[in-house]
Symmetry: C2
Subunit: 338 residues, 2 copies
Amino acid sequence: MGVVLPFGDKDGGKASLQPLLDLVQPDMGRINETILAHAHSHVDMIPELAGHLINSGGKRLRPMLTLAASRMLGYEGDDHIKLATAVEFMHTATLLHDDVVDESDWRRGRKAARLIWGNQASVLVGDYLLGQAFKMMVETGILEALRILSNAASVIAEGEVLQLAAQHDVSTTEDAYMKVIDAKTAALFSAAAELGAVVTRRPREEQQALESYGRNLGVAFQLVDDALDYAGEQDKLGKAVGDDFREGKTTLPVVLSYRRGTQDERAFWKRVMEKGEQNEGDLERALKIMDKYNAISDTIERARHYGAIARDAMAIFPESREREALIEAVDFCIARVS
Amino acid sequence: MGVVLPFGDKDGGKASLQPLLDLVQPDMGRINETILAHAHSHVDMIPELAGHLINSGGKRLRPMLTLAASRMLGYEGDDHIKLATAVEFMHTATLLHDDVVDESDWRRGRKAARLIWGNQASVLVGDYLLGQAFKMMVETGILEALRILSNAASVIAEGEVLQLAAQHDVSTTEDAYMKVIDAKTAALFSAAAELGAVVTRRPREEQQALESYGRNLGVAFQLVDDALDYAGEQDKLGKAVGDDFREGKTTLPVVLSYRRGTQDERAFWKRVMEKGEQNEGDLERALKIMDKYNAISDTIERARHYGAIARDAMAIFPESREREALIEAVDFCIARVS
């Protein structure tokens, strides 16, 4: 049933994305070409704005999942390139709309597109990229891929609306919060991985295994992001520590701190997150309360739990370089914060 | 070759949408059910916001084109309902995003959704409806329909970006302006009509005829809208006379007035539309200049030109109630302003 890597080995910063990067490198070159070709338009603002985000050095983890999973299952055609690019375009469109919705000023260490080209262009270029994503899927003619990705598009938007309604509510339950990140983050990870089995026409069992791998990896990835927002180093992260705090966005470290806190501490969270009244020293106080209740380390523990499920999901596949690289990617995602 | 109705008969306010409404009435009931089912979500804000727009009394002209065209060609299945609903959802998503982009306060005589639920929710619920639209298309399994609608989604967004870049430029050419409305309005009309031939698997010639009908009807429809914004009666229109003027949005009446104007008049257009410096009496002056150069009546003449092409496009189909109703819809669209 293959090797399951003990977390201990890999959590000390040793787990790496390199094996995955090496495996997909030739295909990633083709993805880049496909991105350039499909972000093109005779309307100059579209390639300019899209290029700003596309060239901003994101890891392109989602399309890598599609490529590595297809390769693991022996796929030899070209459709995985189009599907992986469609996944990346859907992700880019979501980022453009997210920045408008969150009124964010920074994205991956660069000025958000909306600050340069305006909210209006960010909304519309996001729509354009989504349209291009669907065009690419249609070109493959694989209806099951279209079913998965159109469903993911709805679920992601639904998750974002849910977050909009709930994000300032610090008394939200952990379950409710998990539903948000399952929709807004994990849905696209799971779709990306699942497509590897769809494009190779593999049995339902393998499709479901990759869907589960992607979903749990996505949840772990988001929880680690939540932790990094309070525990990360700014230059590594490309965004300021405390962004979620300043935006009053309730994430798991806050959910745990609020539930475990005293009445005084709960009043603090309500003031800073729900009312948005933040003063000098409030972020430091937030970090102290989180430390007191192990809120960040427990968030990482939760991430490990989902990471373990992602790894086990891969156990049905025979051992291969691709499988090991996908498993190590889980450890890498978690090790970012360890 | 069928009857071609003389414009003279129908322009005096006699042309009606009623024959089309009567023909599609049973199917429109099913469309309404499908809309309700697919605008549903466990996230309350989604049906609330979507319902605000969906129930606001729009004519649903676009889905009617799909229904009537399918029926004209003898379609007997159910897929036309899903495709027509997908068209309406794409339109609704576009309206939601447009209102955010244009910072509009009113839509069809009601407060714009963004004023009630905020810009953020309008962006995200638009994304959700777009996702649901694609899900419905996928359910039909008709790849050609997916190709047409995903292409329309890209073209519409591209047209909106183009308009964003060009809308305050009063010296834009008529050709450039026509490109904008061909993309932002006519693309969905043409897709809606074309789907009637796609769902019935008719030969390419018939698909192209319906595509041409829809495209030219869409252009005529938009030009009449442009004219109505200066010449309409507020209660009929559901929006204030002069909205485009106040938003500094260059439409054909302005393009014509600017090109035909004196230096003084051109300076006026630049001040009010490009710089957005508008004072008491400026709208009245704009209307006077338009009147001097027949800018509104010539806009309607242009609309008639495209309307005539739409009518001729239908000539290849044998005479039928459906065909006559679709042709009369062209006259109705133009008669709105006569």
